[in-house]
Structures are given as C-alpha cells and as structure tokens.
Symmetry: C2
Subunit: 144 residues, 2 copies
C-alpha cells in the first residue's frame, strides 16, 4: 500500500505518517522509486497509536511501549500508566460533576458555593500539565 492509501484508511494526513515513520512509530517495508510502501498492518498500529494518544500518552511514551528492550514486554510500565490514568479519571470525573453542578447552581458566584469550594480543595493537590484542546470550535463556531 502506498502512503495515500494508509492516509485514507487511517484518517491521518500523509505528513503525519512520514513524521511517525521518522520517529520510529511505524515502518515502511521498502520503496518503489522514492515512494514508501507500507504493509496493511500499520493500520492496526496506527489505531493503537491513536488510542494511546487520545488517552494522553506522548509519542515518546508510545514508542517506549512498542519497543520492549528485550523479548519481555514492560508490564510494570503498563501498570504504572494504568494507575496514572486512574488518577486522571478521578480528576476528570470531579471536574465533570462540578461543571454539571455549576450549570444549575444558584449561588451568586461559584466561589460562594460550598460544593464548588470543596472540590477546589480536593483538586488543588494535583499538578500535571495537559494542554488539551478538546474541541473548542464546537462552541465558538470558529473555523480552525
């Protein structure tokens, strides 16, 4: 398969595929002239990458998971990541609940709502950086 077929099937632009190959996340098995040739199974790998990306893993972390530095897979790393996700899930759940609450809360300011303040205290302990866009244009209607 050539790059455009993979692009089409995966939904990723060709530039991203080249970038991923450069980073070692996927491989092409050869060239036809200049053109890369891919096996169909990179699609599976790309699906896995997408999954991990959307779960908050960096490309570097994904790469680590793909290349067990021996025959054995790094099970400990997987469990550590799972625990991190667990913590993150709890945090997001708090945030979600507080958003839903805020949407119906009648306190004049959220800072005057005891429910909200309690949440703030709980949440204040965490410190790690997402920088996640989610889909902001959904509401603003702005094009990208």
């Amino acid at each position: 398969m050539d790059i455009s077929e993979i692009a089409k099937a995966s939904g990723l632009p060709a530039s991203t595929l080249r970038y991923y190959e450069e980073k070692g996340l996927i491989q092409s098995y050869g060239r036809s002239g200049l053109r890369r040739l891919f096996h169909a199974d990179v699609l599976q790998r790309l699906a896995l990458i997408s999954l991990a990306r959307s779960a908050g893993f960096s490309l570097e972390e994904i790469l680590e998971m793909f290349t067990p530095q021996g025959p054995e897979i790094n099970r400990e790393l997987l469990l550590i990541k799972a625990d991190e996700l667990d913590r993150k899930i709890k945090e997001l759940t708090s945030m979600r609940d507080s958003l839903r609450h805020a949407a119906v809360c009648s306190a004049p300011s959220h800072f005057e709502c005891p429910k909200f303040l309690r949440l703030l205290k709980v949440a204040g302990k965490n410190r790690f950086r997402p920088s996640n866009k989610l889909s902001k244009n959904k509401f603003t209607g702005k094009a990208q």
Copy 2:
C-alpha cells in the same frame, strides 16, 4: 500581597502569574512602585484555574468561563464541556482497562489478543488531541 507571596502560596512561579495577568486570568489591584499588588482571593481563582487546566481546558476556554459576557453565566458551555469530559473519561477508562489487561495477557502480541483488538475498534472513532505528559520521568528516572 506581592507576587512572591502568591507564588509561594499557589505553587506557581512568578513568571506564570505575570503571564496569567497579561492574559486576563487574574488581576492585580495596583502597584507599589513597579511591583504588583494582589488580593488574597486570586489564590482561589488560581486554584480554579489549576483545576480546569488539569481537566484539560485551555487558558482561553477558562477565560471564557470566567467572563460571562453579561450577568448570566454560560451554562450551555459548561454542559458542553461536561459532555466532552464524559467522552474523555470513557476513553481513558478503556485505555486503563486495556493496559491492565495487557499487563497480564499472555497472547504473543497484543495484536493477537481479541480483547485488545476489540478495544482498538471502539477507540478508533475518537479523534482529538491531548499531548499530555502525565509524569513520564516517574518511571524513567530521567531529570527534566
């Protein structure tokens, strides 16, 4: 309070506080010479910002939430965000479960494990970008 007190109490560097002020996320009530003076309640606001950041909101989105362009708060936006978080939580939950499964799965490759493949299909439908570091150095031991 001056900037270093806020920095200390919030755990954020002064540079970040200046940056946040520039972006309109927090306000100083005046100056003593050149130095900014803050009211203690910016700490509450900073806690709220941290919470929202760690839940995946961008500074711009947080700003939108802080400045209801009238007396009414944007309840619709809050609910939309809550729904987005809901989707994200489901995804992270899938990822977490699959990581835990992978850690004990005996299939020679994850691609040969039906449980894992089923997950991939489900997850493949989402498409949004996190780029979240979580705490990768926890395992690698590398300094930043």
